[in-house]
Amino acid sequence: MVLSVTEKSYLHESLASVPPARPDGRKANQFRPIEVFTDFLPASNGSSKVVASDGTECLVSVKCKVVDHAVEEDLVVVDVDIAGHRDDSGLVQGIASTLSKVLSTQLDRSCLRLTKKYSFKLYIDVLVLSSFSHPLTLISFAVYSALNSTQLPKLISSDDDLEVAELPTFHDYDFVKLDVSVPLLFTLAICGKNVLVDPASNESDVANNGLLVTWSNGKVTAPIKTLGLNEDYVSGVSPQSLQDSIKMIEQVAPEVLQALGGI
Amino acid sequence: MTDSIELRPISFHPDVLARIAPDLSMQRHLSLGLRPSLRSFEEFRNVEISDGGLSFASKSDIDRKGNNILGSNVLKCGKTMVVTSITGGIVEENISGSYVDDESAESSNGADRLSRFGQIYPVVEVERGRVGAPTDEEMTLSQRLHDCVLHSGLIPKKALDVAVGIRSTDSEGSSSILYPDEEESALSSGLKSRRKWTYVLYAKIQVFSRDGPLFEICWNSLIYALKTTQLPRAFVDERTADLKIPVSMRGRSATIRETFDIICDASKFQPLRLNEENVAFASNFAIIDIDPEAELPKDGDEMQVDQGSSVLLADIQGEAEEASVFSTISVISSESGRLKHFKVVGGSSNASIENLKKSLNLARLRASDLSAKASNGAR
């Protein structure tokens, strides 16, 4: 829904007040309720669907392929498609590039290693249907739950092929669960001096700036970047707000992981 | 209600006049013996060149990793700046079963002439503050540059042949690379005769501050860049070479085509050998009729101007000249006057034989001036 100038100004005031009054009554560190479905695509190794309360829906499928890891350096490929946005738009390409970089640098490559010569290569396809707010947090949750539900074929040949070009063979129907720690990406909105987690679309429209924070292996890591959420209200923020944002993620991320892990 | 209407002449600032009536402004300038750029009729703009230090072979201490530029040039002509970078690739030539000697093939004439010359694949980009598909001008420029390089016979095809060396590793683990043209030994002749690779050259030409026709400036920049181009030596590893030889000796090489990994030597280069006598530089000219009507009113003694006389302007520059000139000449000529390209567009003005002759003469002088710059720059 497009807000008028007056409505926006009112909303900005209330979000910047202390404590922030969010339009849906959430606390500053409270996420929107989401529904997560996993492992529903029979043709994929892992899949998930995340639906947020505002109707934003994100589907992720993980497929694997055996490759020679000396030839192909990248073992994770991420493809992002957002309904209503062109494939070459800044939003789509920016999200795809951020995700591939985070996943390819922070996923443990040894988890995908089959033999000395061969590895699994993961193809992660992200489809966002009807997005309303900046979809990165939601995509990240979906990728997390998809990778954690991924089943890879079980290797029955030897894992030491002495670098001979012997193709690995797999068990006919047994699978092994992919055991890997997946980084989570959070978006935050900074309004005045307040920091709000998981901003809804109307909150994004009046935020002074956005921040992307990554949580991996129990701590906040790079990339940490400012993120444009709108063009009207964007302004500089105080360094203190950046620190507050990181502190907030340090506080909420373990709870989010616990909630996602319970699925 | 019968107020007399007073007619007052409107006068404009020269800048404004040049904007709203370029042809009038042009004629006014010409009648003073000057051009809008304040140059005289047959004066060229100065050209500054450098190799920009972009090429990987130009410096010893630069980190070569990821730098695949073989030759480069930065050319400044007036305000216009052109950055040309030449990159390369390797392509395997298809050789038919019966091996034809290069020399005998070259003796044939006519239609085959072009097959003796190498090409370059240019992509011109003109910055004008827009994004999107290439403009007509960019596409025409690229195509014209490509055609002119091919037809001028600047690059002999032989200069693009890859003399593939072989890297051998001895028992101590130290490797050495042998090139067929360095050592006259019987090295790897089996490999050499059956497989042939050639370099492919690409040019990326970026133009900033467009101020007049670009073909000539781009061409000159491309020539300078080609003169600095260094091709890396290339080799295959001994192990892969050995592996393939038995296969090819069975005479099945025509059907089984393994792909060799050709690796380029990061420290050894050879300059690209151009056909020196075909090196030529471009210049352009405009012919414009002097319109006696547009002259500034003169006080005192009248100057005699022939009715409908035309003048030749060298090196078209600026909006006023480009907009009001319809007859242009574009010449690519070498120092010695060998013509490589000649294009006349006869618009409104009369391109007389005298003007053509004059332009050819000026183009030759310009070429010798520009070619002197290249040899100075090389030092």
Binding site: G94, S235 | V83
Partner: protein
């Protein structure tokens, strides 16, 4: 479907790119980062107004130390404010395009990320309300990039972009709220305004071993920001005096 590019002359389709031999000595690479962190003798050459058909432009040449031949060359041109067609807009729309003129090392996705990041910074800095119904387009051309191809080492380039755009906007006479500049520290880039009290952009794309406290990182970037900003302002004042 055959989707070849018919608008450019592409050359033979079976051509392979040149593959260079991997340098055997990797010791040199280990030493390099130490040199780079030495910000003290970094020099910046600035020249405004080189691109004549743009409304404003800046040329930046950054060198690490006097002797080093490696320099980053960035040409920024600003087109606008120029009328934009279509629906009415009460403020100017801003676009940032980044292009590598010579060697193409940066993957296209990352170029887009840099553009998004920069346009976010400058949406906050340019007085866009001043220019309704118009567009301001910024074009960055990276002419020379000495950083190695081991991706990720983008922070000196991003900082140069921020400084270059500020200079070009000043040259174009477009209203900005403050002379924004960026400072780098290790793998962080922070763009500041208002004398370092406000952060308009933060970019950290790789973990470094040092600080976990973001405030200390910002403080370190601020030092190099103040230095860069001083150079920019001095240049602008000097060029203004030269004009008079």
């Amino acid at each position: 479907m055959n989707i070849t590019d018919r608008r450019r002359i592409l050359g033979p389709s079976n051509a392979k790119p040149l593959i260079f031999e991997k340098p055997e000595s990797s010791e040199q690479e280990v030493q390099q980062p130490q040199e780079k962190s030495n910000v003290e003798n970094e020099s910046m050459y600035i020249k405004n107004g080189l691109v004549s058909n743009a409304n404003g432009s800046s040329y930046l040449e950054l060198k690490n130390g006097e002797l080093s031949e490696q320099c980053t060359i960035l040409l920024t041109s600003v087109y606008g404010p120029r009328p934009s067609r279509g629906a009415f807009s009460s403020k100017a729309s801003l676009s940032v395009q980044f292009k590598e003129v010579t060697i193409e090392k940066i993957p296209s996705g990352e170029l887009k990320e840099i553009c998004n990041f920069l346009s976010n910074i400058f949406s906050a800095v340019i007085n866009l309300e001043r220019y309704p119904k118009s567009g301001i387009d910024i074009f960055l051309s990276l002419v020379q990039n000495p950083t190695t191809s081991d991706e990720g080492n983008l922070q000196p380039i991003i900082a140069a972009c921020v400084n270059g755009i500020t200079l070009a906007l000043a040259d174009a006479g477009i209203e900005i709220f403050d002379t924004v500049s960026a400072g780098t520290y290790k793998r962080n880039v922070v763009a500041f305004s208002k004398n370092g009290t406000e952060v308009v952009g933060l970019w950290k794309d790789k973990e470094d071993d040092t600080e976990n406290n973001i405030l200390n990182v910002i403080e370190s970037c601020k030092e190099s920001y103040l230095k860069n900003r001083k150079v920019i302002i001095e240049y602008l004042i000097r060029s203004r005096d030269a004009d008079i």
